[in-house]
Structures are given as C-alpha cells and as structure tokens.
Symmetry: C2
Subunit: 85 residues, 2 copies
C-alpha cells in the first residue's frame, strides 16, 4: 500500500518525527512524507508515532490502495519522486 | 475525484492560500486540505494557486481516483471529516 503522511506537531517534536519518518518514507515537502509500505511497516510507523507525539500534536496517514494517484505540483517540487504532472 | 492538497509556502502567502482553499475544500490540519472536486474545479484550483504563489513556494495536489482511502489519525484530529480509523 501507498501512504501519504502529514503532520502538525509542536516545534519541540518536529525534528524527532522528521528523523523517524525519513527512515521509512520519502520526504516530500515540509511536514509531508510518502511511500510504499507493508501492513507491518504501517503498524510500526503508527506505533512509533504514538510514542513520539503528545497532547495537541496531529499526524494523518492517508493509506491508499495503491499508487495510482496523480500528483500535481504547483511551484517548486522540493523533493521530486516518481511521475510529476 | 478526491484531492488532498498540501502546501509549503512563504509565511507572507499562507493566509491567502488558506482563504482560497477553504472556499473549495475541507481544512484538515495545518497546510492540509482535502475534498471531492470535479475536473473543472481541480483546473480552477490549480490555475488560481499558480497566481497566488511565488518563487520557492510549493503546493502538492494528490488526485485520487476516488475516496476509497483509509485515514489513520494519530494524536488529535484537528478537523474530523468522514470515517476515522
């Protein structure tokens, strides 16, 4: 499955979350990661993020059935991966 | 089609981009919008964003074939919509 991860966390925890996600996924843009993962990897990503974040932090993981989405880039693509429209 | 819009724009332009996207889509989290749009609406969103942003700004629009993705929320859901896992 393909996932898009976006997060809105306290500035104190941003680098911790960023460093962790970078070990599993592709950095796309400020607070945005994406990539192909297995069910087990998704479970581990969720479990670790639950430990890393606190209180009012928020992480959204969009789990897509596959990577058959289309990506439209407007302005600068800060970290190109795959096909761009 | 369903779209997820994430943006990384200069602080001077954040509120302009936010105000515009709010007229078409659901605010989800800091710099993240999503929602169902037609092809014509997607075209207008892209065209208007091209006018609003500058230089090193970046907007990514993930166009999904439908809304059959699964959303995993970790921590706080800043603006619930639809089904949450």
């Amino acid at each position: 499955m393909y996932v898009i991860v976006v997060y809105d966390v306290d500035v104190k925890r941003v680098s911790k979350v960023h460093r962790f996600l970078r070990t599993h996924l592709h950095w796309r843009q400020n607070s945005v990661f994406e990539g192909e993962v297995t069910r087990a990897q998704l479970y581990e990503i969720k479990r670790t993020l639950e430990d890393l974040i606190e209180d009012n932090d928020s992480v959204l993981i969009y789990e897509l059935p596959g990577s058959n989405f289309t990506l439209h880039v407007i302005g600068t693509d800060k970290s190109p991966v795959g096909e761009i429209i």
